[in-house]
Symmetry: C2
Subunit: 689 residues, 2 copies
Amino acid sequence: MIGGRRPLQGRKIGDRRVRVDRPHSPYFRYTGLDTLSAKESTLAPTSATGRAIERTRRLLFGRRLSSDEEALERLPKKLALPIFSSDAISSSAYAPDEILIALFAGGVVALQFSVEMALAISLMLAVVSTSYRQVCRAYPAGGGAYTVARENLGQVFGLIAAGALMIDYVMTVAVSTASAVAQAYSVWPALYDVRVEVGILSIVIITLGNLRGLRESGNIFALPTYAFLGLALLLIGLGLVRAVTGQLPSAPVPAQVPVPGTEAVTLFLLLRAFAGGSVALTGVEAIANGVPAFKPPESKNAANTLTMMAILLGILFVGFMFLADVMGLRPAVEGGGPTAIAQLGSAIFGDGTPLFVALQIATALILFLAVNTSFNAFPRLAAILAGDGYMPRQFAFRGDRLAFSYGIVILAGIAALLLVVFQGDTHLLIPLYSVGVFVCFTLSQVGMVRHWISGRDSGWWWRSAVNAVGAVLTLTVLIVVASVKFAGGAWLVLVLIPLLVLMFWFIHRQYATSARELALRPDQVIAPPHRAERVVVPISGLSRSVVQAVNVGRTISSDIRAVLVIDDHELATRVREDWARQVPGVALVVVESPYRALTGPFLAYLDVLDQAWTPDREAPITFVVIPEYVPRHWWERILYNQSTNQLRRALLGRPNTVITNVPYRREEPTVFERRGQLDGHEPPGERRS
Amino acid sequence: MIGGRRPLQGRKIGDRRVRVDRPHSPYFRYTGLDTLSAKESTLAPTSATGRAIERTRRLLFGRRLSSDEEALERLPKKLALPIFSSDAISSSAYAPDEILIALFAGGVVALQFSVEMALAISLMLAVVSTSYRQVCRAYPAGGGAYTVARENLGQVFGLIAAGALMIDYVMTVAVSTASAVAQAYSVWPALYDVRVEVGILSIVIITLGNLRGLRESGNIFALPTYAFLGLALLLIGLGLVRAVTGQLPSAPVPAQVPVPGTEAVTLFLLLRAFAGGSVALTGVEAIANGVPAFKPPESKNAANTLTMMAILLGILFVGFMFLADVMGLRPAVEGGGPTAIAQLGSAIFGDGTPLFVALQIATALILFLAVNTSFNAFPRLAAILAGDGYMPRQFAFRGDRLAFSYGIVILAGIAALLLVVFQGDTHLLIPLYSVGVFVCFTLSQVGMVRHWISGRDSGWWWRSAVNAVGAVLTLTVLIVVASVKFAGGAWLVLVLIPLLVLMFWFIHRQYATSARELALRPDQVIAPPHRAERVVVPISGLSRSVVQAVNVGRTISSDIRAVLVIDDHELATRVREDWARQVPGVALVVVESPYRALTGPFLAYLDVLDQAWTPDREAPITFVVIPEYVPRHWWERILYNQSTNQLRRALLGRPNTVITNVPYRREEPTVFERRGQLDGHEPPGERRS
């Protein structure tokens, strides 16, 4: 490197060299006077690994979308359907089991109610989806439960909806993962014993993918949904044909023969079955949240897609339940048995056939798609909440990897914990899921009723009536689910939601207080300062990083002194001699620290400097210029700068004090020094080509 | 507060106001030109709680000692004995049990060897303490195993000794705590079931005490040692008198009658008993480490105190074992039985008598004293190692609470973990203890042999012979302990020591590398810099903290611009209008971030600024002046400055860049602003009285 030319320092844009005559072009567009708009290249990864991952990501999912482009890129219905429906449609993979298991507690005789149950839930699906069509119309900018509740019912209900939504996303990850693993062990029973491990591994993979920039942004996501729809409809069609022709085989008897329950078939038992099956409705709200992504006319297209999705989900659900009834299918009450969908598949397609395996794989994939949707929605909700001041502000910068990462890691961690605690059992997880979802439904529908009533647009009375029916229905289900499943886990959600609301409220109060403290009167004009500056450089000896810090200090003020805090007289004398010879013109103060402390004596010295100032003059600003060594690797950090970090924290609380860190980077040892001043190193400059 | 006088800002010294004419006096003494020596007041606590604790601490333990005072304050033998001997003498509380338990595996008949075992170990004690007398003479500055091994046997053996010492300190805490709790449940058996909890609680209390500045520095520490010595000698004396007069009662039969083992009395069984009993020698080295604390002639006084301690320990140990033998005492093999010392005490003093209870309390206290000694020695060793570059540098500043805290918390954490893993069972912990201690003994003695041979002082041959006998003996014990207890936990220590040595070596290599990179040629003279400066202030809006940062930036350079990274056009326009009106003369650049990222676009903008610079001139230093909000409480930190912290980390790796943090403190809102410029707040100045 000595004497040679260096490559461009800082970030590189591919292999292209930056041309000086148009310096802004690779990173920015000019959009006005002193206004630049960042291009995607500003987010380019800097490491080789990062670039390789970025290339793969682009190949699979296309490039990132800016806010403007997101607004411009509209989905045709045939893409919007699979992207927004995976969550809802995938619930047909576990909802049938919920009904069958709940009914089976009343013995084989209770199973005859399964088709009625399916029809009742489909009816509810029809009502709720009709209610949500109205949300699509009323909130063309996207009507999440948080937005609708906050605008119509006020802050508290908005925050309740936000808390319930967060729980909803976590539960979607946990339930869908558990169900996907159940689809897999329905084909390969050996997986049952490692179901928790497999589930956590899946979450880890999806988490890493999302941390590295995997998003729902491409046609690739349409595939599993259409594959699942195709195979499931084929299954139902084939089953119906065989049922008509009388060729439908009876359901296979699972290895562990399920023992029918002996409960009386009471209303309570039927309510429990209904509560269990209501999980089929989870995810129905997704389209209403995403109206702006549709092609114009957005509201109409979204509403029609929603209806389409509800019809498909209804067909799948009722179809599955009808076939299960005809074939006399018995649910795997004990863990480890095949899921209802797997039993149907193996009976109709034939056990072990490629079609059956394909059905199971497609089911698992659409479930993972639902998981991935939550990984997207969670940080987006956090960003909206952060924008409104209810979450820490850093969540608002969604594009920064770190901000995004917090949300992803929290989501994945809690979901994985739930998988472990509930031993990967879908059936045990579902009570927690339904409560959160129906809280959102109810708040959203009640909010809509208020919306129509206060707006009084044409048709407001029948519109509000539709939402009122939806509200009553979802509230009823909520009460049913919360009461029949209370001991089974629903209580946890009912405790968590108020805690989350308290947290949001607390954060909001904090920000409000600090905003008040920081506010400027709008008519105040700020003039340049007239304060003097003083520079103090804490050092531990004489080194290149100290020289660098001292030279930075000299550019700030000529009132500069280095301070050596030390408990070794001899070493102090040696440093003083070297200093006088090598850094002429800069005072060195030695603070002996016989109690072997660094921070206390240094702070006290600064106070002494301030006290020497006469009281009727304004005290100068003290710049504490701290030399810092930048280690090559993150794990080396514990070896460096710990004492100065401590000093930095202590100085944060000190009046009239500014902290300047001068990082010393090994790759560029001559910064801040005179050209060629330090031998053996290349002079600075001549860096840009 | 408005218009009134403020009290002195920053740290206060009691209630005294600082007089401006002698500003240095409360904190510093002048010790030379530009040289100050910090007084203890620089370490004064700033919070009310801190001051209350400090007053209590002073009352109990007297004031802190500086390095100079530590060197001056010499202990008379009558204080040095209890302070340095607690570790060694307290081992007589658990060593007898070790011998008895090991022998009891061979049945009652094997117990007859117990007195012989005690005599053998006392003989070894005599040899080892004689060897250590020589260390006192050779290393008047303190001869820890690390020092002796490093100076005479080289770096590797020094580091092995250091690793073994660290393990030794951890094990002292674990074993002494477990034994102290065992002394307590010997009196109150109900404590047995909560022994782990009680042990951890004790460690937590001692940890908090040490974090708050409890040190071994006062007469208070002499009390438990003398109490224990007095009661134990009384016990032995009374026992002997009764034995001679034939009035000695036979040992009480514990509630759980111990079942004698059925092993043959082989050499292996006897070796195991010897290995167990050798734990009596732990702590013997303490005096040799602390020679400089003795009154002159230091070496002679230390050596005599050492002999005194060895004689006392020998008397206690042999006395206990003799009485146990005469009374036919059977050890509590199963956990929960009374300790040997408790059995003797309850038989001789009478069960439940005040004397018996006092004996048990004194025993527990001297054990906790040994624990506290480790809490002191561990950070001191870490400081020595840090000074030699084998531990992270921050450990070298012992006087700073944080540096000290790391060591204390690590020590307490590992010891508590061991208590949990070994279920608070002294007997199970001791194998790990003995190995570490005897590694230190052996290295120390071998080092002394080399010391005498290379020095060839008068009498070198007989001196080296004494240490050689010690070395052979301790090495033999080490081999015996390591082999007979290998599976019982000794293997862990034999794995840990090399790992610690590797860690020390790795840290040393890192520091050596960075020191080379940072080195200056001694003849290089550093001239003032001639680099231009440029200031960039990243802002998120217009607020008091931003105004403050901008004004600090203006004192650095007139080439200043504020940069607003934002993804909201409207907000950007509004900020621009306010900015133009309220902060005239400072350019505002808006960087629109359609990908909702902060760091990437900001860094790219800095690169664009650099590229605009013509390549043949040196690029200016970029000062990134970051407004920072200082929250009132630590738990508020997550709400503030997270994005800027991320920015800060990213900037550390950027060439030509200096990071300046301008903290905004609510208590002092007008710093860096023009006097009276912002209404509603008191003008700055007039702060010192």
